[in-house]
C-alpha cells in the first residue's frame, strides 16, 4: 500500500459512512416497525378469537344453532385494547383510543355479507379493521414522517 492509496481509502470511508448510517437506521426502523405490526396483528387476532368464543345461550336452547353473543363486538374491542397495551410504548396513540376508533363488526348469524370488505361469511363472524399509528423516530431522523400508520385486519369465526 502506498501513502496515496491509504488516503484514498480513508476518504472513501468518510464519504460512505453517512450513507451506511442512513441504510442502517432505515433497516433498524423497518425491523422495529415490522415487529410492532406483528404484535398489533396478533392483538387483533386474539381479540376476534375471544369474541367468537362466546355463544348466545338462548338461541342455542331455542334452535340449537350457534349464534354469536350480542356483545361480541364489544368483547373484541375490549380485548383488542387490552392486548394492544403491551405494545403501548411503540404506539403514537393510546391503546384504548386505537381500539375505540377501530371498525369492529359482528355478524352473529350466517350467511352474512360484509358491506365494507364485500366478503360473504358462511359462519358467524367478527371482523376487525384498525388503524394503528406507530412511532418511527428512526424515520424522523432521516427526515421522514415520525409516525407511520399501519392498517391491520382480523376476521374470526367458529369452525
Amino acid at each position: 500500500m502506498t501513502h496515496d492509496d491509504g488516503g484514498s481509502a480513508a476518504l472513501t470511508t468518510l464519504l460512505a459512512l453517512p450513507l451506511l448510517l442512513v441504510v442502517l437506521v432505515g433497516v433498524l426502523e423497518l425491523g422495529a416497525l415490522r415487529a410492532v405490526a406483528y404484535r398489533a396483528a396478533a392483538a387483533a387476532d386474539l381479540a376476534t378469537l375471544v369474541a367468537v368464543g362466546d355463544q348466545d345461550q338462548i338461541e342455542l336452547a331455542r334452535s340449537g344453532n350457534l349464534r354469536l353473543a350480542a356483545d361480541a363486538a364489544d368483547t373484541a374491542r375490549d380485548y383488542f385494547a387490552r392486548n394492544l397495551s403491551a405494545t403501548a410504548p411503540a404506539l403514537a396513540a393510546s391503546a384504548t383510543a386505537i381500539a375505540a376508533s377501530a371498525d369492529i363488526a359482528s355478524f352473529p348469524t350466517a350467511p352474512s355479507f360484509d358491506p365494507r370488505t364485500g366478503v360473504r361469511y358462511e359462519r358467524p363472524t367478527v371482523r376487525l379493521i384498525a388503524v394503528v399509528p406507530v412511532k418511527t423516530p428512526g424515520f424522523a431522523a432521516l427526515l421522514m414522517p415520525a409516525v407511520t400508520t399501519l392498517t391491520i385486519r382480523s376476521t374470526s369465526s367458529p369452525r
Binding site: D45, T48, L49, V50, V52, G53, Q55, L60, A61, R62, S63, G64, N65, L66, Y121, T125, S154, T155, S156, S157, P158, R159
Partner: protein, 319 residues
C-alpha cells in the same frame, strides 16, 4: 444412725408409693378396635302380591265388531326390571279408590259407566325396598248394543233386539217425525253410540292410547332439538324430555348410551340434566350423536330412546 435413717426413708418411700398411670403403647395397640355401631336393621318390606313384570302395558284398545264394542289392553312381552301387584278389581260402573290415579286413566262405556278392569301398582326395586312409581289400569270390558229405541220406530227397535246387529239395520232410526228431512240417530242409555246406520260392515276402531314423544332439549323448558352446535370446551346441559300427547311429563331416569363427550357429569340420572363438554374436535362435517335411554314416570316400564346430533365448533381465524 445412718442405717436407721436409710431404712426409715426407704419405708416412707415404699409406703407412699402409688401405681403409675403410665400408658403402655403396645398394650393399647394389641387391643382390637371396637366394631363400628351397626344401625338397627330396617325391615325390608315386600308389598303383598308383588310379582316380576313380564308383560308391559302398551295402550288401551277399543274395537267394535258388529254390535259389540270391546275394551281391552294391549301388552308386549317384555321385562323392564319392574314389579307390580294387583290393587283393585273393578266391575262395570263400580267406583274405586284408585280412580283418577292411573296414568292411563279409566275409560267409560258409551252410557258413561266406568269400565271394568284391574288396577295395577308398579314398583321399582331399590336398595331401600320396593318403591311405587305408578298405577296403571288394564281395562277389560265390552258392551253390546242391547236395544235401540226410537220414538217412532218400533220395528227398528224390534229388529235390533232380535238380531243384535243394529249397525246393519237397513232402516234408520229417527226421533223426528217422518216428514223430517234429516234422520236423527238416537241411542238410549245402555246401548252403544250408534253410528249412522248403513248396510256396510263396521270397521274396527283404531286403538286409542297416549302418544309418547321423547327428545333432548338444552333448557329445562326448551324445545326438543335434533341437532345442536356447541363450542369446544363449553359445558352444555342436555335435558331428556318426555311428552304425553305433547304435554311434558317428568322422567324417572335416563342413561347415556353413547359416550363421545370428553367430560360428562354422569352416565345416568333422573331429574338432573347431563352436563357434557367436548375437548376433541371432530373431522370437518362430522357430528356426534348423543343417545339417551329414558324412562318416564307415566310409563315407567316403557324404554324410550332419544338422540341429538352434536357439532363441535372452535373459534378460528378466517383468511
Amino acid at each position: 444412725m445412718k442405717k436407721c435413717t436409710a431404712i426409715l426413708l426407704m419405708s416412707i418411700a415404699l409406703l407412699s408409693s402409688i401405681s403409675a398411670n403410665a400408658r403402655e403403647p403396645l398394650d393399647d395397640e394389641s387391643l382390637p378396635l371396637p366394631p363400628p355401631p351397626v344401625p338397627d336393621p330396617v325391615a325390608f318390606v315386600v308389598p303383598p302380591g308383588v310379582y316380576y313384570v313380564t308383560d308391559t302395558y302398551v295402550a288401551d284398545v277399543v274395537a267394535t265388531s258388529d254390535a259389540t264394542t270391546t275394551y281391552s289392553t294391549t301388552t308386549v312381552h317384555e321385562s323392564t326390571g319392574t314389579y307390580a301387584r294387583v290393587i283393585d278389581n273393578v266391575s262395570t260402573g263400580a267406583s274405586s279408590a284408585f280412580d283418577g290415579m292411573a296414568f292411563n286413566g279409566r275409560g267409560a262405556l258409551t252410557d258413561g259407566q266406568a269400565l271394568a278392569g284391574t288396577y295395577y301398582e308398579n314398583f321399582v326395586l331399590t336398595a331401600g325396598g320396593y318403591v311405587p312409581v305408578s298405577i296403571v289400569f288394564f281395562q277389560d270390558d265390552s258392551e253390546t248394543k242391547r236395544r235401540q229405541t226410537g220414538s217412532s220406530s218400533a220395528a227398528a227397535t224390534k229388529a235390533a233386539a232380535t238380531s243384535g246387529a243394529a249397525v246393519t239395520s237397513a232402516q234408520p232410526v229417527t226421533s223426528a217425525p217422518v216428514t223430517s228431512a234429516q234422520p236423527v240417530t238416537s241411542a238410549q242409555p245402555g246401548s252403544i253410540n250408534a253410528p249412522p246406520l248403513s248396510s256396510k260392515p263396521q270397521a274396527p276402531i283404531e286403538p286409542v292410547g297416549p302418544t309418547l314423544r321423547v327428545g333432548i332439549s338444552l333448557a329445562p323448558d326448551g324445545p326438543t332439538l335434533a341437532s345442536a352446535e356447541v363450542l369446544r370446551g363449553r359445558l352444555v346441559q342436555f335435558w331428556p324430555r318426555v311428552f304425553v300427547n305433547d304435554v311434558a311429563v317428568p322422567i324417572q331416569s335416563w342413561r347415556l348410551l353413547s359416550a363421545q363427550p370428553d367430560h360428562i357429569s354422569a352416565n345416568a340420572g333422573s331429574t338432573q340434566p347431563l352436563t357434557a363438554q367436548w375437548i376433541r374436535m371432530p373431522a370437518p362435517g362430522v357430528s356426534w350423536p348423543l343417545r339417551f335411554e329414558i324412562f318416564s314416570l307415566v310409563a315407567p316400564t316403557e324404554r324410550l330412546e332419544a338422540q341429538i346430533a352434536i357439532t363441535v365448533r372452535s373459534p378460528a381465524l378466517v383468511d
